[in-house]
């Protein structure tokens, strides 16, 4: 694809402030440098204003903060552990590797942090219904969970193809009382589920909150979703200081829309000696066209309400993404990541399906932890970063990496079993796996 010069976009001066030594923490939006904003139909602007206002007031309300803290503690199980991965680390150049255990949260991933916060905001706005989009089903399950806990009606939009492949996650959402609507428009994937959720929101905005699952979309979503995930980085920073007596050399996370990554990065944004790495889904390889490496190969554009990097063709049509990991299979990325990439505060690299699956197996066998395939991208990146750190010389045991283990891999067992050819040929599971389905 050819490169066309991009016109100078509006910018909030954040890049200049960073270069002058200013803080990057708690960026409020609507812009992150030249990214973010509200590229949305007028019909939804009032709802975004209401949400922004409610969020701003909630952040300053001790009752709200106490509610969030209590749910995090007694429902999600926070703080999540920071576990040193001794045997895995031997493959990462011998540096010390610590896993931030978001996989141990209720519902099995970091997603719960955001859905509880947003569901509480929905209640504060007097809304009785939440809608959500989901790819593999993780955010849908988390949304259905929060809705059940707080007594909200919940509707989840999910690509028809994903519904078929993730029949058990559809059943989970239904068990939790949510209605799942298969999306048959467009490419029938996550981006089309977001489109249909937005169409629902336009029509039902009086009663309905759109519980967006990642740190993307129109303002205030990117800053708000990050806010609810900041707890990951805050905890990790405190825990590493406690366990190792110093900050890490690097923090690694996987990036789809980028919510788990922005959550853990935030704790270290102003520690400029800590390198931040986001690992995107490289699919079959970034030179194959079948990938979801949005920052690596995308170009600035607007999708779903924000200006950010975007996988698009020369006509500005969104290009379909590909990844073995449904949670990273999205052709956009949160605007704050686009900004951090441009100013060089965080580095973004692709990890192929094959690299991710090798790291997946390695963590299983060295640590007895089955990671989500999304998180396996971060683990594969950690292996590379560890080897680079070790190659710098000195005692590798003096080097520290924290990797965000954003979710557990129970949902991915069928995919992994198929990938590693573990299923007997005549088993029902093999038949399901061969069709790309998950158990």
């Amino acid at each position: 694809m050819t490169e066309t010069p991009q016109p100078q976009a509006a910018t909030d001066g954040a890049a200049e402030a960073f270069l002058a030594g200013g803080s990057l923490r708690h960026a409020q939006g609507p812009y992150f440098g030249a990214y973010g904003g509200r590229w949305m139909p007028e019909s939804l602007i009032a709802a975004l204003d209401e949400l922004e206002d409610t969020f701003d007031k909630a952040k300053a309300d001790p009752d709200f903060l106490a509610q969030v803290a209590e749910l995090n503690r007694s429902y999600s199980g926070r703080p999540s552990l920071l576990t040193e991965a001794h045997r895995f680390a031997e493959h990462a150049g011998g540096v010390r590797v610590f896993l931030k255990r978001e996989d141990l949260n209720h519902t099995g991933s970091h997603k719960i942090n955001n859905v509880l916060g947003q569901a509480l905001l929905a209640k504060r706005m007097g809304k009785t219904r939440v809608i959500a989009e989901t790819g593999a089903g993780q955010h849908g399950v988390a949304s259905a969970t929060a809705a059940a806990l707080l007594g909200l009606e919940c509707v989840v939009y999910m690509g028809a193809e994903d519904c078929r492949r993730q029949a058990l996650n559809v059943a989970r959402m239904q068990l939790l009382g949510a209605e799942v609507i298969p999306v048959t428009n467009g490419s029938q994937t996550l981006k089309d589920a977001i489109n249909d959720a937005l169409r629902d929101w336009v029509a039902n905005v009086q009663t309905t909150h759109y519980l967006l699952g990642t740190a993307a979309g129109a303002h205030p979503f990117p800053a708000m979703v990050r806010y609810f995930h900041e707890v990951i980085g805050e905890e990790a920073r405190e825990q590493i200081l406690d366990l190792a007596g110093r900050l890490p050399d690097a923090v690694c996370a996987c990036i789809g829309g980028g919510s788990n990554a922005i959550g853990i990065f935030h704790g270290f944004l102003d520690d400029r000696e800590v390198a931040l790495y986001g690992f995107e889904a490289g699919g079959d390889g970034v030179d194959t066209g079948r990938h979801a490496a949005t920052i690596t190969l995308g170009r600035p554009g607007v999708l779903h309400g924000a200006r950010s990097y975007l996988m698009q063709d020369d006509d500005g049509q969104t290009v379909e993404s590909h990844s073995i990991s449904a949670g990273l299979d999205y052709p956009g990325v949160g605007p704050e990541h686009a900004f951090l990439a441009d100013i060089g505060r965080a580095s973004y690299e692709p990890i192929t399906d094959a690299e991710a699956m090798e790291a997946f197996r390695l963590l299983c066998r060295t640590e007895g932890i089955i990671p989500a395939i999304e998180s396996a991208h971060a683990l594969a990146g950690t292996l590379k970063v560890g080897q680079r750190l070790a190659a710098e010389g000195g005692d590798p045991r003096e080097k520290i990496i924290i990797v965000n283990l954003s979710g557990r891999g129970d949902k991915d067992v069928a995919t992994a079993a198929e990938w590693f050819d573990l299923l007997p040929e005549d088993s029902a599971e093999a038949e399901i796996g061969a069709e790309g389905e998950q158990l």
């Binding site: 016109p7 509200r38 602007i45 336009v202 779903h304 500005g316």
Partner: protein
Amino acid sequence: MSKSAAAIERARAEGRTALIGYLPAGFPDVQTTIDAAVALAENGVDLIEIGIPYSDPVMDGAVIQQATVEALQNGFTVRQIFDVVEGITRRTDAAVLVMTYWNPVMRMGVREFAGRLAAAGGAGLITPDLVPDEAAEWMAVSEEFGLDRVFLVAPSSSPERMQSTVDSTRGFVYAVSIMGITGARSSVSSAAREVVAAAHQAGAERACVGLGVSTAEHVREIGAYADGVIVGTALVAALRDGGVPSVAALAKDLSTGTGKG
């Protein structure tokens, strides 16, 4: 002067409500779009709105989505929009606006897009996902090329936003009749009347109502308080089901509702 404003004022001078018809470009192919648009102009439509098919049309309902998906599958490219506009303006005097989601314009470059649209004889842009808050570049470029900026206002627009949107608009204000997406509805929401009244109060000289309008009766009802009426989905369905002759017949029927007498 604004081409859209001129078309609406011409209808007003003739004692009619301006009729605005929408068709997506390249459905089912570029030549049919041009022929169908010309048929609109010959059957009482004052302004023609041509949509650019886009991969993620969040403001569109099923009928228009299906049509634009088909256009893209048939190989429509954004650059062909200028062929469509030129093909229509060469054969009719109707004002031709382009309705587009913003990313295709941004991808080409706002200035290049505007220059080519103006050269093709286009009147301006209707922008469903671009609000004036994000439109600084488009505001400047549209002034440079004398193009219309049709922004949307909705039942949910606050008085402040109504004012700033009306102030940013050139041509006419697109009053969304209902909180929802495009698609024919059996009746037109009463909210439309209030949106138009608010737009007029904010100083809009021309406010046209769209979303859900599908019959001559709707046109007549809305014409009582609005300056123009926008019909989309019903025309797209007519084109899908009966080709250009059906589009011509529906336009002719809709235009019977435009008389204010």
